[in-house]
């Protein structure tokens, strides 16, 4: 049976892809083997708004350290931000939590701030990032869904600028060819739906993508925005009347992904 050390040294077990170590809860992380690592830090997405206006939640920031030499004697304090809750009845949605990495060999704390919750029926803004080689602001939420994590560029997925029903608005998709050492690729955003009925639940976002908004018509009793994927903003839950039963989607939790690089 292959050991982690052998998988890392062979570049992922023959597939040519790196071994991704995903940290989804805060912890003290000790490198299992010596080597060079790439660190991806992603803040949590904010919640979406539940209202007759407003928008989706902002995505978490994206911070990347391209390469860092580590040994098994080093250690890192990893903090993982929690996704913000969606709001109800036009209240302000919760911000996403900040994710950080500090430790041996890092001169400053890698920081990916959480997305900002929609306030006063405005769209949620993406979280910022700092102290990495790459520091991208998360995507802004919009009427049609939560923002996506800016793994390619700042505010790369601004759902406000795309058409209704275009789930691509909250995507974090990228060329699969990019997925590999030093790169991560996200998934598809939740589609936007318009409906009638008792309880309408929006579509959740894929990895790093925003949740879709759910637009309820006059006969809709309750509407829920879709939840954001990891780091993505929550979608908006829209109702024309009785917004006490309109709920924004929850933002996705943050994450830290560590990739061992080829020697």
């Amino acid at each position: 049976m292959a050991t982690l050390s052998s998988l890392i040294s062979s570049g992922g077990g023959g597939g040519g892809l790196p071994v991704n170590i995903a940290l989804t809860e805060s912890q003290t992380w000790v490198p299992p083997v010596d080597g060079n690592i790439c660190i991806h830090v992603i803040g949590a997405g904010s919640g979406g708004i539940g209202s007759s206006g407003g928008g989706g939640g902002g995505a978490g920031g994206y911070c990347k350290k391209n390469s860092l030499a580590v040994t098994t004697s080093g250690s890192f304090t990893v903090v993982i931000g929690a996704g913000g809750l969606g709001s109800v009845n036009s209240a302000n949605a919760s911000n996403g939590g900040n994710s950080t990495v500090a430790g041996t060999g890092l001169s400053a704390t890698l920081t990916a701030n959480g997305g900002n919750g929609p306030v006063n029926n405005a769209n949620g803004q993406g979280g910022t990032a700092s102290n990495g080689d790459v520091n991208n602001t998360g995507g802004q939420g919009g009427w049609f869904g939560g923002g996506a994590v800016g793994v390619y560029r700042s505010n790369s997925a601004n759902s406000q600028t795309t058409q209704r029903g275009a789930g691509e608005s909250s995507d974090a998709l990228g060329d699969p060819a990019l997925m590999g050492y030093g790169y991560i690729v996200g998934g598809q955003g939740g589609k936007t739906f318009i409906g009638e009925g008792s309880t309408l639940v929006g579509m959740n976002g894929g990895f790093l993508a925003g949740g879709g908004s759910m637009w309820g018509g006059h006969s809709a009793l309750r509407t829920w925005g879709g939840d954001g994927g990891v780091g993505g903003g929550g979608g908006m839950g829209y109702k024309t009347t009785n917004t006490s039963l309109a709920y924004g989607g929850t933002g996705g939790d943050g994450i830290v992904i560590i990739q061992y690089l080829p020697a």
Binding site: E25, S26, Q27, T77, V79, G81, A82, G114, N242, L245
Partner: protein, 98 residues
């Protein structure tokens, strides 16, 4: 588990996913985060929603003079509109006569 991290003045600075041991070792001011529960719709809200759907579904009949059973439908719609102000609301729904 999720924890709210605070500064010395009690202001929230972060919300994170962590074990109790990690939070205790790394932060001075914190508390376990408990998410609020969502409210279920009340009986009145559910009843009004049903009433609105019934009115919408009989709109065409009310506006079509030779619609079958139209007189009873008009009476039914009046009862639907009055229902929230009666003692029967929300327990006993109006019914459509035949």
């Amino acid at each position: 588990m999720k924890y709210t991290i605070k500064d010395a003045d009690g202001n929230v600075t972060n919300t994170i996913k962590a074990s109790a041991e990690f939070v205790e070792a790394n932060f001075e001011h914190y508390e376990l985060y408990v998410a609020p529960t969502s409210a279920e719709p009340t009986a009145e809200e559910t009843a009004r929603q049903w009433r609105d759907i019934e009115l919408a579904s009989t709109d065409t009949a009310a506006q079509t003079p030779d619609w079958p059973n139209r007189d009873n439908i008009l009476t039914y719609r009046t009862a639907l509109r009055d229902w929230p102000s009666t003692s029967n609301f929300p327990a006993t729904k109006p019914t459509l006569g035949s």
